[in-house]
Symmetry: C4
Subunit: 322 residues, 4 copies
Amino acid sequence: MTNSPAGEEKGKEWDEGAPVPRTWTHLQMATMKALKTRNALVRECMAELLGTFVLLLFGCSAAAQVKTSRETKGQYLSVNMAFSVGVMSAMYLTKGISGAHLNPAVTLSFCALGQVSWDRLVPYCLSQLLGAYIASGLVYLVYYDAIMNFSGGVLTVYGPNETASIFATYPSEFLSLGGVLWQVVGTSMLMLCILGLGEQRNTPAPSDLIPAIVAVIVLGISMSMSGNCGAAINPARDLGPRLFTLTAGWGPEVFTCYNYWFWVPLVAPCIGALIGTLLYQILISLHLPDPAEPERVCCRTPGSRFENKGIFPFCCITMIRR
Amino acid sequence: MTNSPAGEEKGKEWDEGAPVPRTWTHLQMATMKALKTRNALVRECMAELLGTFVLLLFGCSAAAQVKTSRETKGQYLSVNMAFSVGVMSAMYLTKGISGAHLNPAVTLSFCALGQVSWDRLVPYCLSQLLGAYIASGLVYLVYYDAIMNFSGGVLTVYGPNETASIFATYPSEFLSLGGVLWQVVGTSMLMLCILGLGEQRNTPAPSDLIPAIVAVIVLGISMSMSGNCGAAINPARDLGPRLFTLTAGWGPEVFTCYNYWFWVPLVAPCIGALIGTLLYQILISLHLPDPAEPERVCCRTPGSRFENKGIFPFCCITMIRR
Amino acid sequence: MTNSPAGEEKGKEWDEGAPVPRTWTHLQMATMKALKTRNALVRECMAELLGTFVLLLFGCSAAAQVKTSRETKGQYLSVNMAFSVGVMSAMYLTKGISGAHLNPAVTLSFCALGQVSWDRLVPYCLSQLLGAYIASGLVYLVYYDAIMNFSGGVLTVYGPNETASIFATYPSEFLSLGGVLWQVVGTSMLMLCILGLGEQRNTPAPSDLIPAIVAVIVLGISMSMSGNCGAAINPARDLGPRLFTLTAGWGPEVFTCYNYWFWVPLVAPCIGALIGTLLYQILISLHLPDPAEPERVCCRTPGSRFENKGIFPFCCITMIRR
Amino acid sequence: MTNSPAGEEKGKEWDEGAPVPRTWTHLQMATMKALKTRNALVRECMAELLGTFVLLLFGCSAAAQVKTSRETKGQYLSVNMAFSVGVMSAMYLTKGISGAHLNPAVTLSFCALGQVSWDRLVPYCLSQLLGAYIASGLVYLVYYDAIMNFSGGVLTVYGPNETASIFATYPSEFLSLGGVLWQVVGTSMLMLCILGLGEQRNTPAPSDLIPAIVAVIVLGISMSMSGNCGAAINPARDLGPRLFTLTAGWGPEVFTCYNYWFWVPLVAPCIGALIGTLLYQILISLHLPDPAEPERVCCRTPGSRFENKGIFPFCCITMIRR
């Protein structure tokens, strides 16, 4: 990924610069100028959309591969690992632009903390949802042959040849309250564990490896808290594919099945994320010593943009500013 | 996780500061002041409690997921990996506060080394035990449906539908002395391998990746030394869940079974940790060259707090001070 | 890997230097001089050849081990992991010399970006192909006994005892368009995810861990997008071993089977890599803020070596110069 | 792992120092002085012994756990992973002292490179062998019950209940030349991949993560090149446990079986390591550009300790001096 040595030999040339830019270079620059987004919100929403797309493409593909190969080309663990790699890849791709939330519950938490403006909430969530929807569509397209071969052409939600679980999550049959609770617990663990990673007053992780460490935490959560009903600790990850299956032929059963289960992975992660954030603040952040840290954002200064907008304004979470 | 660009535009505002703080901001600050712990011991015990809670929640959930899904949603390896992720997450969350021992045997070793005051021993251990107990309770709550479905409603310690091993560790039937010995060996390997990670005079690991590296070592130990009787290299990890199962309906058999096995994972790890610490000191630490290192803590200066309190005072273990 | 202490004691000696170099030292230096490559292209091609050799040796050996042991000494996941370790090892070995493309599709993308000169394209690709061919030969040689034992001495492409899939990739029976599409999607994900890893304006990965992170991404892709037809996101990885099997006794069927499938893993990854590169530029790179970064290579300066040679010259991808 | 806050409060005390050291502190210091090794060779041999002990304890325990649990508590992959974790742990423990060779073939290569003095070769190898022997003994002791239970009390080398393969490696039945070749190839890949990790002129790995990266490479090799005959790319790892099984009741068959196979994992890795080292020098190291690097060790200065002692003196391998 370095320049070829020949380039180094001629390196002088482009320092001096050619005096007459040709017409097509002008054209090219005009195209660039036209394409370049100047609106920060649009840029951030594009990043969230792309990031969630990447996350779901990895994850749902792996689910399709394991399911349609009847576990000969991967097993349960592969799906968890693929989601985890998806988180890492998507974070490296978009964290510098939008913060790489990739998850409405995470966006909600950062809004509650006053780290992200509340007017970002809806655009971010819609972008994440759209990214998840598009990814599901692409997975369906490329695994079309395999899904048809596996299901015998009948797209169902129940039974041994069901394929709906490739996309969205569905509960075990015996599930009652536990499933709801698990989503709350899983998402609150997620927030509890990732909020402290950048905290300089505690044990900070290397800032350029945070995507990898978050990926490992997500892997851990999906290995330990997905038994009952899948690890949909992310409303966009669940609703996007579910909407896709609705439109792609699985029918309204994807929403009505298991006694309208679909609202659980929408609501529970949001509650869980808020609980996890509150727990982190009350149990950890509040008690940390308070060194003079110039890069800390004060969210309690009255009159500032952040003032009294957050739900959990007990204290600030120190983040590494880039 | 950066501020939204809109914030940067308005960034000036909160530098200037609004002159009149409103009433609820006062209220908020008063709440914060009231909640904030000023006592170091309380703060550290909260951290140990929370850390052990996180560790056990990951680990026991994974055990429950694997067991109740009859190994369709994970396998033996998943449990090992989940405990490993739990160690990493808990260490990032609490290492800067209490040192992230998460294990009475580790606390004991650090006391013996003179790195932690002896009067910390009991409070730390009780906090760890309580964290493990609470985590077990939460795992039971969320996996309640699955556990009942799996066991047919009968909570037992023996038999194919036993569920006690989700929480605490139980030996293989043929086990005699080996099981005791294994716990000693496993814990001494743990201490031997982690004590040197921060040693600047040897091959130090990156200080901000120590949680990840410790997690890998714990994974290795549980993959290689858990065959006979589980890898309970941690008395709190074993006693906390065992106490929970006692109170939650498994009955006193959890303590009496296998000829009162329960004391082995309590005593053996402590012996093992002390042996591992001693081995590290005698075989490695004592022979390292002794550069002028200002951040080294001298534990042999007479009259100091550390003086003659440690059991293994041959030499100091150099730790990176934060 | 440090010098032995004895060396330190005598360390002074070679600072002073012995006055009379002996004859064989002269000989030795002459040999070195004769062997040392001064031509940059030759050196880079050697690196690409060696890197692709290492990659394929890891990957195909694992495939042979899993196949010939009938999955008792590894499973599907092992093959994915071995390819991933191969990527990491090969990148550490050659990234500083040739950029460690290891893949004609990657080389093509870097040419299109103007980061690598177009006249490097063919030599690089041939080197990669040759490296893959030699690695296949070596795997065949060392697994000769095992392959013969497994296949009963008949080297075939179809059937339960086929061994051709140890080397090249073959599609599932039901595959039509999806297989082609998957290769496109998989390779475009690869480029999308790795192009941003060195981007200082976004979330850069640690430059000395990029080989490890690329390896994880490759692992994720092969776990999620290899279900239909293997994860041949690399034309050299597929054609090299396929040519070897042609010459080693599997016969022309390796090319003609599955309706001349062989051209798919040649063409699709190239298309995918170009799409991924374009997506990265349009969706991410173009919109990143533009700080004054002296180490950025300008690829649009007219008259420079890079001028209008790339296909995607919208903007430059910032790379860390070594 | 930091001091408790209470210590900070009293921190002044031991700066001032208590004026009268008590008697037992004198005693303690005398003990330390007596125990401390001043001879560098002894210290290094202790480190190699301990490192190889740790490596084998992880690896052989995992093999015993998988074997005696009949693959219910781990699978083939676990053994590979445990060896890998063992490599990492042992390297962090001893790399700063002896270089953490842990392998006679590696020591031989470093001697051939002139990086380690030839008179270190035999002491290092004997220490490694002894460490492997002791570790096997400990594994036997703690898995005694399980091994007896598994094998029905008969310790054999052949048959479904054989337990000799827990300790040393044995070939597949059909193996002829391939097995010998594999050991050569595997060890030469090992050397090829690890020699460049510290090379500043190429793509250096982070020096404090080299143990982790070497561990991943070892994992890759054992996943891909252990199919035929185990991945004994290390003579000490094989001979030590084999000698132990000879003395512990498996009888002389451990040496005579498979047509005196035992010499292959002794000789082949050494040949492979030398080939890998030579390949690295001729294909990579020789062609790297030669910046002014003050920390580079010159091994060709006549009259120096390193002069004409190495077998491969074409060029030096740059290592990061600590």
